[in-house]
Amino acid sequence: MSKDELNIKDNTSLFKEERYVQQRENKKQFEAPCSEQETAEALAYSKSAEYMEKNFNRQNVVINPHKACQPLGSVMAALGFEKTLPFVHGSQGCNAYFRSHLSRHFKEPTPSVSTSMTEDAAVFGGMNNLIDGLENSVALYKPEMVAICTTCMAEVIGDDLNSFIGNARIKGVISEEYPVAYCNTPSFVGSHITGYDAMIKGILSYLYTRSGIESKPGSGAESGEKLNVMLGFEPYTGNFAELRKILAAFDTKYTILGDHSGNYDSPATGEYEYYYGGTKLEDVPQAANALGTLSLQKYTLKKTQEYISGTWNQQISALSTPLGIKGTDKLLEAISELTGLPIPASLTEERGRVVDALMDSHPYLHGKRVALVGDPDLLIGLIGFCLETGMEPVHIVCSNGDVDYNELKFKDEAEALLAASPYGSEATVHVGKDLWHMRSLLLNDTVDLAIGSSHLKFAAKDADVPLIRVGFPIFDRHHMHRYPIIGYQGTLNLLSLIVNTILQQLDDNNSGFNFELVR
């Protein structure tokens, strides 16, 4: 059938019709008790420096937050382990939000269940919900381990997970041996990254303790050669693949602790199986004997790192997301140092190729002013990348940046990094601020590009700045998370994304006099 037969219009085209334009005009009587002029003035005021100051003095309300809550991170962490069912102890809406949030980003299903606590649980405690929930979910979804995290509600009423799980065993709902890891993750402290950390630490310590193994770092004929790797709250499945590629080039054995890439990048086989990939449960206690642990998100994995260096007594190499040439250099040096292996020539060659690509593109990047939004570790990586390409980070907003690792605060590290480069001289770092603050920044001190999650699109549109989607969540673009952004290859991907957005903008804004073929 031809398209002409279908006289169906979508909203975008429909609303350009005269009758709808008219209808919108008529509706305005309801919309604001003020004139169009007043509206325009208010809008202009919201873009002024005076308003920005008021906006930054705002204390008590968050407008357009750029963080999610702890248990969301815990769900992602639990999905990093083999046949593990994330189990959220609280009222059921939280779990529904986590599932849609993660599924919308990865475009994959998220198996996760809830204890669906209601008013009676609020009064009498959630133990019965937890016991019933364990029984039902184990029967329905047949996991090999359940990983429980709490929500605000369970925390406020003070539910004791450890004793509840014990009671579930006494009641025979689950056997004595059945593994159930847990962590406490109220949403009124921390953010998705601290929740991720809590669950990883919860699972590692639980599986290690119950195994009865005593850690001897670097010991054991087979396991001792291994390296432990943690990627943290990682929104890119492509980053797992890139890291595997790098480790394969080193020819080292390794265990990824918390690998959710399988669950969020499974093939279309015609059958949905709930669980794909993940760190093998028996590998976790063995990981205590590894040579050392490489952590790619040092702020995110704070408590886990402390646990590994403390209880497992292991050497830790804690980096932030390895973006850009220097970021990746640090990664390779860290692997080399932990394993004692030389840096493979193939990676040196790859490095050279990507440096070449950066040189090719540098005329378009130099001096470009950039605004950045993201989680702390991602921002450290992005700042480094921007600085080495000659882009100038101007505004940096980190809602959940109030974290430190080994007494180094995110804000201090970011500022030191910026101060070390002439391209960082204009930058300001805003911790604990939201996207409405970022809007003021974008409108008052314009930039050429914004880099951040999909949530930044509203402020970016207001300020008429193109948005490069990096981080979490990315709801409104497809497959971004399948391309790595770490390592030399990831640097190349990020570079293409940025430089081609700039080139597209040159073409779009061209009036015809200078519409060139060659760039």
Binding site: N11, A32, N60, P65, S91, A96, S114, T115, T118
Partner: protein, 467 residues
Amino acid sequence: MKYSILSEGDEEPMDPVRKNEFDSEACGSIAPKAKPCPRPKPGEAAGGCSFDGAQITLLPIMDAAHLVHGPIACAGNSWESRGTLSSGPSLSQYGFATDLTDSDIIFGGEKKLKDSIDYIAERFAPPAIFVYSTCVTALIGEDMDAVCRAAAERIGIPVIPVNSPGFVGSKNLGNRLAGDALLQYVIGTGEPEPMSPLGVNLIGEYNIAGEMWDIEKLMNSAGITVTSRITGDARYKEITYAHRAKVNMVVCSRALLGLAKEMESRYSIPYFEGSFYGAKETTYSLRQMAFLMNDREMERRVDRLTEREEARLSQDLRPYRKLLKGKRAVLYTGGVKSWSVISALKELGVQVVGVGTNKSTEDDVRRIADRVGDDTEYIPEGGASRIIKTVRERKADIMIAGGRNMYVAMKEQIPFIDINQERHKAYAGYEGLLRLAKELTYSLANPIWKLAASPAPWDKEAPPYDR
């Protein structure tokens, strides 16, 4: 009716039913059940909570500010993630939250809430502020009503507490509690302009993907005005005078039937339950509106309009019906869509072989039973595997469900249409049915299914699911 688009052997279109408050047999007179919405079952991957339900109902009041009083989770995970569209203001899109931290939990967050309300009132000048309680604020005993009352007096705009914390139950219960908030604080507090014509309130229509605009266009063509939209693409002011409407149409009965019922007893506004999915239901709804308006001329206009639209639709649908005839679908959705979409599908020649009843009222289930054959399987409980099982056993060609089940369908290589709140296509009204036909055809005919179902050329094993 001259041009019927109903399939052969189908029943005749429904006649309008006279409804008044004394007629106990009338359509829609059955009171909402006294028993609460079903309790969620622990250990399942269930849907949203009451907080979610209340937000869904009220967020489409586009010019109001919606402030979540609680820790960051409830707002941080939910802002700007619904497909309810606005033709103008966008304040409703802003994610406002008090972002309570542990010290607020200990010492109370009422001061923070007060300051947040003041800030929003001063900086954004909304016509009203809706304040949502969450699990935490309900548990620590915040007196939200008092804070809102005091704030409303201080700042001179309505500040409406919505007491629907997540733990009180399901999403549906939250819809109802939001309706209660409207009844208690909004409806009846304003008066329309003297010259504005009065007409129908659309209750429980959320303008997902712009469906309400299609409906409004149809109603206007027949000379029927919308008095208040409750709440798709609504303005706060128009809801304040909803009590002046002549008729209430309840579009999603599970959500807000109680609201219509209460408005009938308070303001003597007759109501009926209807749907705009499918030509038959659309025609019925329009006729019912005109009938209850008690306006002969309007009834005649509706008859002319529906006749013309059905004829045109019948023509336009021809190529699609050829392709869709005999196709089998599993429908997993809630509320009114559980039965009304069945009608729409039947008109396209698609047979519903499995239907979810998880979120349906007893009335809804009765209506489902009226519309499907004996060999249709009822799916009372969720869980992806349960739905998939029905698709397999009943040899369905397509799955019609919500976004959370979409990626499971993809994994199983089952053609899929999103029918719930995340959908991006408008399926209401005559044009909507045409869109649905088009989407069904596209989803079924896409070449990717064949590609996905064939193994790699070097792999001799047969695909797991042969369609």
